[in-house]
Amino acid sequence: MWPQAVAIGLVIAGGVASLVMSVGSFRSLDETRAAYYERYQFADVFANMPRAPRSVLDEIAAIPGVAMADGRIAKLALLDISNVAEPASGLFISLPAQGEPDLNRLYMKEGRLPDPLSDSEVVVSGGFAQAHGFAPGDTFSAILNGKRRELVIAGTALSPEFIYAIGPGDRMPDNWRFAVVWMPERALASAYGLSGAISSVSVTLLRDASEAQVIDRLDAVLDRYGGSAAYGRKDQTSHAFLEHGLDMLRNMSTTIPPIFLLVTAFLVNLVLSRLISLEREQIGLLKALGYRNSAIAGHYLKFVLVIAAAGIIVGSVAGTWLGVIVTRLFGTFYQFPFLVFAKNPDLYALGAILSLVAAGLGASRAIRTAVVLPPAVAMQAAAPPRFRRFLEFLPSPPRFTAQPGLMMMVRGLWQRPLRTAMTAFGIALATAVLIVSLFTGNAIEQLVDVTYFMADRQDATIGFVAKQPANAVLQVARFPGVLAAEAVREVSIRIRHGSVERRVMLSGRGRNADLSRIIDTNLRPVILPESGLAISSYLAGVLGARVGDSVEVDLLEGDRRTVVLPIAALVEDYFGIRAMMDADALARLLREAPSVNAVNVSLDQSRVAQLYAVVKGTPAVAGVALKETALANFRSTLAVTITTMAAIYTNLAAIIAVGIVYNSARISLSERARELASLRVLGFTRWETIRILLLELTFLTLIAQPPGWLMGYGLAWVMKTRLAGELMRVPMIMQNLTYVIASAIILLAAALSALIVARRVNWLDLVAVLKTRD
């Protein structure tokens, strides 16, 4: 019995482990974030403008609902690091003349804050320092407002504002090429001619304040300074990405553990029912001797309890171990001062209670049969099961009904429909879990393919500090190594349909742009319509708008008009939500001469070094986003997460498959040992006997596959839908090969566990069978 107990224990352990891992990692991340935000005064609302007098902060602090307002200078600039060919970018943020910032405070990892009077001392973000092996005292250069400056690192720090720090034009963190640089206000202000002025505002809210109202009032105050619309934490990049990661864990914690609990209940029922039927006569005897029902029930409950306890212990240890791995994994791209897997006792208690409840539910039905039998009846052998005819009543029964081996299987299954259904259901669940795991990998590949190869075909995007006249694209085209160049004009907008509103980037591009293309929902490149917007299909879903509908658009630049535009096309994209339109149409809309913010370029790879050198000497350039680097970063961060998660899922699916198939095979062997031994005596070879034993399971495993595929598709769809967010989505792509691989793995797991059981056919006692009654 102990291998069966181990198999059940493993399933319980799988449930507890998946719960502890997912909920534990979620909580660790969530609680760490909350503590970090609170202790380091992470702001609630943010706004940027080209320039506003510092005195505007008093006005902002007076807005009802605002608890505290802090202002600073924030500027993007190119970095030049010795021994690094490609240009990096830095987001320069001013530090107050005295003390620390009131909001978005720094956690100092190393060194100290810069001397407020120094022109060269800075604090750099921890990830950047680590990537380059920088320590206090090391130096690098930056081009601030066209002037090259030597900077000395006084310290390294982390900030709640940049837990997930991504550079301009990037989608994933790249600590090699992006830094947050904190610099004394005096030095930064003098570099940009912003003495007494600020370009960025952060605000915290009072407990009951309405964020929307504060944002409205803040926009009104900053409007005269050319402020682009204020936004809350939801639209703050770092916070939004972190939220997305948390969603993933939350999602996992609600889908996987329930599957295990269900399988646990079924397996406990299966094994305990068999145990009780084997011990039926002893139960009758004990009852006849005066043992109470409660004592009998207690005995079996203890048995279940011991298995469950072992499973809970193993699951807790495994879950903690996996949780530490997952938390550490998240720690590699979320920069926290401290991030440890929180071992909250209540979580372990929850895992234990849920497992015990599932096991108890499974046991209750089996134990009831032991309890309700009168002793006299129990002491006699159970009545033989009544088998029913199957299809033989038909005038011409199917051919297989003439094969006794097949009929043994069919009638065996037919006689216990619930057990048959539950076994098949369990195996189907295992297939489904595996499909989800494989699906994730496929979806990521599709995402890479569409994003990096179908849509964004440029090798690099050169971003400007501020908008440039249209001929800037011609200058870029003359840079060494540039083979083709296409202009991009980006402007912040608020897009509104009915009561739903989102803040997105509207990018204007040439109608026939060939480098960065627009891919429609049928994965075909589309030509931008002459007028109207092309928007992310996800954004259309959020807005509840369709092609042909009109949306209101607040232009958050220039004369800040509100216009009404039709939606002309939907775009299939997986990162962010955005809107696009024809560059000329956008220029007319903005009532400006055609301008550019960025240029997409394709490069002659043999000349990139020269290009980098030129770019580093071009003050107007704020940063260069490199596709290859972006893709490599995407793979190294997300791919690791995905493969780790997929490995966990695959193992969990295998545990379910082995748990169910092994137990079913063992029970089948136990129930049919006498029958099978008789067959051996009658001259059946071992293999023929094993075939009869395993026919039923093979059949169940096979018929479980199509429902498994369906459930897998469904689970993948749920996963995809729940993971879909405004930051990132995965496509619902399901290849036929996915089904094949998932089923092959389950069949293999089933075959291995069945063969372990089948070996026992060798040990059947042929002599005893001649003398024993069923």
Partner: protein, 235 residues
């Protein structure tokens, strides 16, 4: 004289149980001719079941020779013993050992499917008078009927040897007589060598010879000058 179907010389079987050795067979010598009906009589523990198990190829002797025609059964490997049972031996068990999920006909067909020269399952059942109960499950048949299905299953492959271990042990006398009658009928029709273990001394009268077992050996062999008809037996 035709060569014997079985010939044993100094056949022994010893079971080791911890430090204790149990000698179940102590140098048994015997011969059984083709078509002979032999009844093995003796008290429990006298070695007759061990003897039948070794003859049937489901157990192996510790020492001695046992030949089935010109095959030395003591030298056969497990796989060859399976083939021997499959091709040459028909078993009838005390508790029938039918597959409960199969009808009478299917129980017989289960064995004919793996045989090289079987009779039709229907014919086997007809031989023992169960042609009208072919589509019943074991649970729908009486004990005697179940045992007769077991006999049909044993003889359907036309075995050379029929080994019966207490075939009437679980039956009342009237049904037991019917079963013995069926056994003798098929063994005569198919010229099958038949060995029947029993506690029931009355049954010895139907045999050609009776082996009396005591203390792990054949203590006496009795040849019946005339065999009684099964129908005449009463116990």
């Amino acid at each position: 004289m035709a060569p014997p179907v079985f010939a044993a010389k100094d056949l022994t079987k010893t079971y080791a149980s911890g430090d204790v050795e149990v000698r179940a067979l102590r140098g048994v010598n015997f011969e059984v001719g083709a078509g002979e009906v032999v009844v093995l009589l003796g008290p429990s523990g006298s070695g007759k079941s061990t003897f039948l198990n070794i003859v049937g190829g489901i157990d192996t002797a510790t020492s001695g020779d046992l030949r089935f025609k010109d095959i030395d059964l003591t030298k056969l490997r497990e796989r060859d013993l399976t083939r021997y049972r499959r091709e040459s031996v028909g078993f009838v068990f005390q508790f029938y050992n039918l597959v409960p999920s199969l009808t009478a006909l299917e129980n017989v067909a289960l064995v004919t499917e793996i045989s090289t020269n079987p009779m039709r399952p229907q014919d086997a059942l007809a031989m023992i008078g169960l042609e009208n109960r072919m589509h019943h499950f074991p649970a729908e048949l009486s004990g005697g009927e179940q045992q007769r299905v077991a006999i049909a299953r044993a003889i359907a492959k036309r075995p050379e040897v029929l080994l019966c271990d207490e075939p009437t042990g679980a039956l009342d006398s009237k049904t037991g007589v019917l079963v013995i009658e069926a056994l003798l009928k098929v063994s005569a029709e198919l010229s099958t060598t038949t060995l029947i273990i029993t506690h029931n001394a009355t049954i010895q009268d139907v045999a050609d010879r009776v082996f009396f077992f005591a203390d792990g050996n054949i203590s006496r062999i009795q040849r019946n000058a005339t065999r009684r008809r099964a129908a005449d037996l009463v116990w």
